[in-house]
């Protein structure tokens, strides 16, 4: 099997490497990609959208429809993880030992395999594989997280002028919450941002994007043509494009942040939403 795989891979790679002979040279400023569509973006982006970061302008305006579905992909991935993994009813017959925490006192009870679970709702089941973290880790991350979040917001808001935008900012915001879940425990993170919040935010983020597009439709222009929003923003059409991009970037940021957090919640606790890693 391995030899067959290696042989076919080498053959395939050989053909592809042979194919590179017909490519334009690396970095050639006269190659077709550099000379056909993209010069329009470089030369006109500032004039047409008033966004100096051309990547953001193309991402959220010229090819905004791609980006809408890219956000939809992230949303469906998060939804898929929830759909596949989330456990709604705890299986009481599972053979391994169980740990329960008494909420008012914090005492942890161990129930041997086959034992009866405490019935009072003062107890909550906790994850037997979880090990509490060191205090240094806990304290340091608590100090760092606000700055990470601030940076995430900056990245979303400053995507017009520097590298960054909704995706990167959303991922940074999401990873700050993941860091919180890693350093404290998952249950505390869920206490901060629950499952309902992540699900609804995730959908709402994509909805902001698609809704902004649909609003343009209602204003009589084509889908996602932010210039039509200029009466709403009270600015001229070009500024309206810039502001429209900001709106959709915020939507993307919201959706990506909640999607990342939500995927992590389900994956790290196998859908049980207990202590996690």
């Amino acid at each position: 099997m391995k030899i067959v795989a290696l042989a076919s891979v080498l053959l395939c790679g050989g053909i592809l490497i042979f194919g590179t002979a017909g490519f334009p040279d690396f970095g050639d400023p006269l190659s077709p990609p550099a000379s056909h569509v993209s010069p329009h973006y470089i030369e006109e982006a500032v004039a047409e959208t008033s966004v100096p970061n051309i990547v953001t302008a193309v991402l959220a305006d010229y090819r905004g429809f791609d980006t809408l579905f890219e956000t939809a992909v992230v949303f469906s991935a998060a939804m898929a993880c929830f759909f596949l993994l989330r456990v709604f009813r705890e299986d009481e017959r599972s053979p391994s030992e169980k740990l329960y925490r008494h909420l008012p006192t914090g005492i942890i009870l161990r129930i041997d395999p086959g034992g009866k679970a405490p019935q009072s709702n003062e107890f909550e089941p906790i994850d037997p594989t979880w090990v509490p973290h060191d205090m240094i880790v806990k304290t340091t991350t608590r100090l760092i997280i606000p700055f990470i979040q601030l940076f995430g917001l900056y990245v979303i808001a400053h995507g017009h002028h520097s590298p960054g935008g909704g995706f990167q900012g959303g991922v940074i915001l999401g990873s700050s919450l993941i860091l919180y879940a890693l350093s404290q425990n998952l249950r505390m993170a869920i206490g901060r941002m629950g499952e309902t919040v992540s699900a609804v935010f995730c959908a709402a983020g994509v909805f902001i994007y698609a809704g902004a597009g649909a609003l343009c439709l209602l204003m009589g222009a084509n889908f996602l043509d932010y210039a039509a929003l200029s009466p709403l923003f009270g600015v001229d059409a070009i500024q309206a494009r810039s502001l429209g991009i900001l709106v959709v970037e915020i939507g993307v940021g919201l959706a990506v942040m909640s999607a990342m957090v939500w995927i992590y919640y389900n994956l790290a606790s196998v859908g049980r939403h207990q202590e996690g890693l």
Partner: protein, 136 residues
Amino acid sequence: MNEWIAFLAGKFNYWGFIVLMMIGIYAIIAKKNLIKKIIGMNIFQTAIILFYVSTAAKRDAGIPIITHGHGMSGHSARAVDYINPLPHVLMLTAIVVSVATLGVALTLAVKVYRQYGSLEEDEIADSIRARAGGDQ
């Protein structure tokens, strides 16, 4: 010698992407561990992203952010001064798609592990066969 180096400089990025892609495909075909296969899948996707980013490169050009900002409509930017932004845009999308696929793939791998207690393809096949035998 010099033209050989020029040829190499003109193509090596494309070769690199092919090598990475083949590593990825090899892992998907030949490795039996499901997580290894998923890693292979991701390497495969990043290789294609590398290819697109290579198509964007332009000699003696800067990053695609117009430096003089807005409000200066007097100077219009010249295309040769900035790297082609379009492949970058496409690849932002592709990266996000790849992390989404990764999430779903890992989710299914975890599900498979909870079902069969193993991530090795041959061991899973054995236990499927054993269960099918038990049915009859």
